[in-house]
Each structure stands twice: as structure tokens, then as C-alpha cells.
Symmetry: C2
Subunit: 142 residues, 2 copies
């Protein structure tokens, strides 16, 4: 009667943890030893969308604003991004890339491919599509 398997949520969490470990090791391999997966998420987001406010960034990376402030501050300390007050609204701080992070754009592209590719290993294109569809439907339940 008692199922030997934990629920889906547990499996989802496990997959996330393994993937994050993979991200962390890729970051280390690239020499970015003091960056965590979340820092990478910020950079990847900025590569795609240029400068963003902390508010917008926090939504993109799915983190609370206080966490985002701290993650960005670390990236600033390490020279990967910079913060500038918006001209239109003095409350808004825009986070933008630097020469240093722009130089790593390609690295992050490869990193993304490695990390996402590993999850999909052995999946046909249709299965990949199915998986993302089911995932996005599950996400809509929140």
C-alpha cells in the first residue's frame, strides 16, 4: 500500500539539485569559482535582455528582491555587472553587463547547452517538447 517512491515534487527537487550541482561544477571548470548557479542565472538573463531593474531581474530569476540585491552586489564586487540609477525614475537601479561578463557570453551559452542537454539525454525531440509542455502546465498551477 505504501508507495516506495516519493511524490513528483520530491523528484522535481532532486532533478533541480542534480542540475544545480552540474551548473556549479561547470562554473568551477570555467574558473568562476565564486559564482553560484543563481549568479549565472542573472548573467544569462542579462545576456538575453540587456539592462534590467532589480525588480525585473528578480522576477526573471524567480528570487525575492532582497536576495536579488545581494546576488547582484556580489556580481558587482566581482566585476561582472554594474548598477546605475535610472534617469526616468530615481528609485530604479538598472543592472548592466561589463566588459568582463561580455567576454564570457560564449561560455555561458555552452554551459546552458551542457546543463540542459544532460537533462534531455536520451530524449527524442518529441519527448523534450512533451516534457517542457507538462512542466509549463504544472507551473501554471501556481
Amino acid at each position: 500500500m505504501t508507495p516506495r517512491t516519493n511524490g513528483i515534487v520530491f523528484s522535481v527537487a532532486q532533478l533541480r539539485d542534480h542540475a544545480y550541482e552540474h551548473v556549479a561544477s561547470e562554473l568551477k571548470r570555467l574558473g568562476m569559482t565564486d559564482l553560484a548557479p543563481s549568479h549565472g542565472a542573472i548573467l544569462i538573463t542579462l545576456y538575453r535582455e540587456k539592462a534590467l531593474s532589480l525588480k525585473e531581474l528578480s522576477i526573471r530569476i524567480n528570487k525575492k528582491k532582497s536576495s536579488t540585491t545581494e546576488l547582484v552586489d556580489k556580481l558587482i564586487r566581482l566585476g561582472y555587472v554594474e548598477k546605475a540609477t535610472s534617469a526616468e525614475d530615481q528609485r530604479v537601479k538598472l543592472v548592466g553587463l561589463t566588459a568582463k561578463s561580455l567576454a564570457h557570453k560564449k561560455d555561458f551559452k555552452v554551459l546552458s547547452e551542457n546543463v540542459n542537454g544532460r537533462v534531455y539525454k536520451g530524449f527524442s525531440i518529441e519527448e523534450q517538447q512533451l516534457f517542457t509542455d507538462l512542466l509549463s502546465r504544472a507551473l501554471k498551477n501556481y
Copy 2:
């Protein structure tokens, strides 16, 4: 050319985070305000498998052993579990349930159903099966 969507890993992480938030709110609702999702995972594992060593427990909940020690110690402090040295191997500490946690067994059953059920909302039985299958295949890539 640049996809507007982040990769699957990001979606998986997002789903995990939302589900964990749900777990946290359910724990709060049940009056267990000082328990985190991981503490719940330990209790649920023990409900299913009786007493386990810290080693075995750490594998079941997918956490490192030092983390497991700390999570269990908190559960002991709060009276939910107890630790006893194994008779056969003095190195091994067996973690077992207490009257307090046994009294909450039903609560955790409901919690699990609520949390996992939410993910599956709008899913047919076949889709649920498909999702868990794809997920377990992805997990095997690690």
C-alpha cells in the same frame, strides 16, 4: 533567435521552488511553524520506512550527511524524532519517530496529497504517468 524562455532546468527549479513554498505554507497551517520542507521529508521518509541510519536517511532525502545531521538534530530538539546508537555497529545512529511525530502521520499524508496534487492539477492519469516517467528518465542522467 534568442529564445524568450529559459531552459528546462530553470523551469524545473521554478516548479521546485513553488512547490516548496506550498509545503512551507502547509506546515505553517498545521502549526509546525519551525519546520522546513526538508524536515517534513525526513518525517515522511520515517513514516514509510521506520528507523533509519543518518547515512540511509541522507540518501533518501537527497541531502549531504552534514546537512542531515543538522536537520535531524533540530527535529530532536523539537521532539519529533530521537537518535539511538545501533547495537550491531556503534558508529551507526538510528533515527526513529516519537509519539509526537506519530500523532502527525495523518497530517503529513494530507500534506503530501495537497502538494503533489497541485502539481498534477489538470493532468489526466496518463499525463501524470508520462510526467513521472520523463522525470525519472531525466534523473537517470545523473
